[in-house]
Amino acid sequence: MTLGLINANPVVHAKKERVAQQLSVLSEESITVDEKLGRILITFTPTIQHCSMATVIGLCLRVKLKECFPPHFKVDIKVAPGSHADEESVNKLLNDKERVAAALENPNLRQLVDECLYSNEL
């Protein structure tokens, strides 16, 4: 599972046709799971401070985690503190389930997420 999550970042950047860079440091995730309470906290580090794909990466993480854990698990996703310029607004968006639900109903966004997670390029 971790491998799939780490690959979300470079695939996303490749899809947006950025100049090929040495993305040697990929997303680092830290995951805390409380099985008794059924809660998961995941923090991820976008590679650059102004990463415009931070919300898409967060969305990918949500979709992936939903597959891996039973439905009653509650997931909170945040960018690692200090790792992003719009940390507060990104965190708020990623944890607003109504916004997440609406975003995943958007066919273009959904396709991007699916490609990130299930693309053969992985």
Binding site: K92, D96, K97, R99, A102
Partner: protein
Amino acid sequence: MEFLDANLELKEIQKLQGHTDRVWSIAWNPATAAANVPTVFASCSGDKTVRIWEQSPSTLSWDCKAVLEETHTRTVRSCAWSPSGKLLATASFDATTAIWENVGGDFECLSTLEGHENEVKCVSWNASGSLLATCGRDKTVWIWEVMPGNEFECIQVLQGHTQDVKMVRWHPTMDILFSCSYDNTVKVWWSEDDDGDWSCVQTLGESSYGHSSTVWSLDFNAKGDKLVTCSDDLTLKIWEADITMMQSGDGYAPWNHLCTLSGYHDRTIFSVHWSREGIIASGAADDAVRLFVQSKDGSMNEPSYQLLLKKEKAHEMDINSVQWCHGEEKRLLASASDDGTIKVWELATLS
């Protein structure tokens, strides 16, 4: 006040299954739950449908009477009955609001209101049924006038919120509109003259003891002089206004913060509803339903509220909506959840 002394429990009467995705909202039909009229409520879901549930007079269980499908092309987020109970408005992420009429058991879509740029999040009828309000992610609130022949005309688009508007609700007795938003504020909209322009007459924000995160929902007490709001900041806030001043035409009376209920919820509170008798129900992301009532020991000038009871694990997932039934026979509460089910509860004395 007598609720605090009684030994009460929230008894699960029925669990309703049918929706194939999360249930976002429920709305009791105001014309039902009267003598000889079977109780009806509507529910709407991420499965793009609306379901109508009716209580059988013989078995007393709720059965799904109709499924309103093939109209909305995305999640149906909110539903609201007109005060007469004859029309049902449904708001969807597909950016439209549909108006339905019950024609001999079948629900027909009479009209589709377009205009919002993206997801419509809520729809609300005013007390007389002459106006409709909708709101959405495009940060606007739309006011629609109900014209003869069930035509709807947008009379104004209200700008002011700086983010996604989550919910709108009309005051129970006066034509004053309230909206809650992702921008952490509640805005109050009013038109001084009957034909005048609507404008934002008050913003309940952080500087006026307001919420520090998204405000998801609000409701009024029966009298309409108190308001309760719920938020992602894990608190409920109670506000009050001198509505007699407003009702006598002396201009706008502002809402003032009365108290904040904090420490009771540890995850987002999505829904709040105030019963006729003064019990505030909350539905939250921790799967629990909580009931609050006014304390006995609060002074007249500083009333306080306390927890009456907490129903843990009311559902297996987040609760998106809690709604008291207006019926007078029993104290019924309906709850809707991410787990795809709706539950009907009765607040009764422990047997």
